[in-house]
Structure formats: structure tokens, C-alpha cells
Assembly symmetry: C2
Homo-oligomer: 135 residues x 2
């Protein structure tokens, strides 16, 4: 298991030691928001993650109990990844990343109406994504 | 200005292209939560940021309108950094990082009571940090 070097007592620093990396967060996004659960899904997510980076991040996320995997019923050679309870508790933070990006990306594909709609239903959306991310 | 290579249309990916880096987030934490506003404050924050990394991140955050700086009244040679409106809108996300870290860090310095107290007053806390972070 990879040892996280703890740099301070700050809870934010702890979270960032585990999550302060684009690729880690993109994997969590894929599971929580995009209904993706397989290694190949993450690899093909569009942002161009390298295989060694993906393998490393999946291992780290499993080691720290943020995701878990089980044998896929329909194909025993494949692993099916889901978020653990600890991972599901990251959904609100991922939603905040979405909201901020949707609002501030000058080339955002999200309309202002869609953003408003989602903001007004924040709690409902968090619950529905949590349910979905359990897989 | 550093060009951010956009990897997809996803708002989360956009946010991570700018913020998916431990050091960037630690600077934002320092301004938002720790009432730190000077270059030297960030450098001494405890996590051991290198000077070149700090200078790079401050420039990027300014270029993207997340922080701004002005001449410090009491010492014209110093710059006083604050969050812009765009930066203030990151406060809810930083709070989510705090909550998750406080809950899951096995060596967390935050008691369960303190965590519950903060969770029950989330909105109030967000507003008070936003007010403080304006400097």
C-alpha cells in the first residue's frame, strides 16, 4: 500500500494528499456521474489517461477504501468498480467541481438554465448520484 | 498566460485542469480559511511548498481570475492576495474537502462533536468564510 506522506494536521491537506490529482478525481467522476464501472471505461473517458496512471490510481483508491471492485457476473475476467461509503461521501465535492466549472468555463456546454435547474435541486441530485454510483 | 489544455467538454474536467493540484488548493485554503494573504504566509503554511511552485500557482490563479493582489498599504513592497468572486465561489468545495478529511483522516485533529457542529451550520460557515476571504 502506498504510504501517503502526511504534511500537516489540516483535514483539507489530508483530502488533497489522497485526491489532489486530476486523474484520481476523473476516475471518481466517471463512477459517480457517468455510470462507468470498468477499467476500459475509465481509459476511454476522453481525457486521455495513460494505462500506468490509471492502474496506479485505481490501486490507491482501493487501498484507501474509496472504491471497491468485484468480479463482473457476465465476464469473470472483468472487474466492476463502485464507490464505497467513504467514496460516496465525495459526491457533494464532485458536484461543487461541476457547478464551478459549468459556471466559469467560457466554453461551457452547460446552459445557464440547466445550471440554475441543477443548483435548485442540489440535494436531490446528490442523492440520485449517490444511489447510481453504488452500481 | 499559461494555456490550459482543455481535455474535454466536461465542467468537472475544466475545474480540475485549473484546480486539480494539491498546491493550488492549499493556497486557496490559506486565503479562504486561514486568513493568510501574503506570499510569505503561503510559503510558511506548513506543507513545505517550494518557492518556484508557489510563484507559478499564484501567477496561474491570477491569470484565471481566481485570486487578485493589491499593494499592501503598510508596506508597499508587499502584495496582499485575496479571492475574487470567482475564487469565493470555490469556498463550498473547499469546505467539502475539509468535511471529508475531518471525517476520514484516522489521525484527524477534529473531534466528532466539532465535525457535527460544523456540518449543522454549513451555510452559515460558508458565508462567514466568504466574508473573511475577501480580506
Amino acid at each position: 500500500m502506498r504510504k501517503i506522506v502526511k504534511r500537516s494536521d489540516c483535514p483539507i491537506s489530508y483530502s488533497l494528499d489522497l485526491l489532489g490529482d486530476k486523474w484520481t478525481m476523473l476516475i471518481l467522476r466517471d463512477i459517480a456521474f457517468s455510470d462507468k464501472h470498468f477499467y476500459k471505461d475509465f481509459l476511454e473517458a476522453g481525457e486521455g489517461m495513460a494505462t500506468n496512471v490509471l492502474a496506479d490510481r485505481l490501486k490507491m483508491l482501493k487501498d484507501y477504501g474509496i472504491i471497491e471492485s468485484k468480479q463482473y457476473e457476465l465476464n469473470k475476467a472483468k472487474k466492476y468498480y463502485t464507490l464505497t461509503e467513504k467514496g460516496l461521501e465525495l459526491v457533494p465535492m464532485i458536484i461543487e467541481l461541476w457547478v464551478w466549472g459549468a459556471k466559469h468555463d467560457p466554453q461551457s456546454a452547460v446552459s445557464k438554465d440547466e445550471l440554475e435547474r441543477r443548483l435548485s435541486k442540489r440535494e436531490e441530485i446528490i442523492e440520485s448520484y449517490k444511489a447510481k454510483a453504488k452500481g
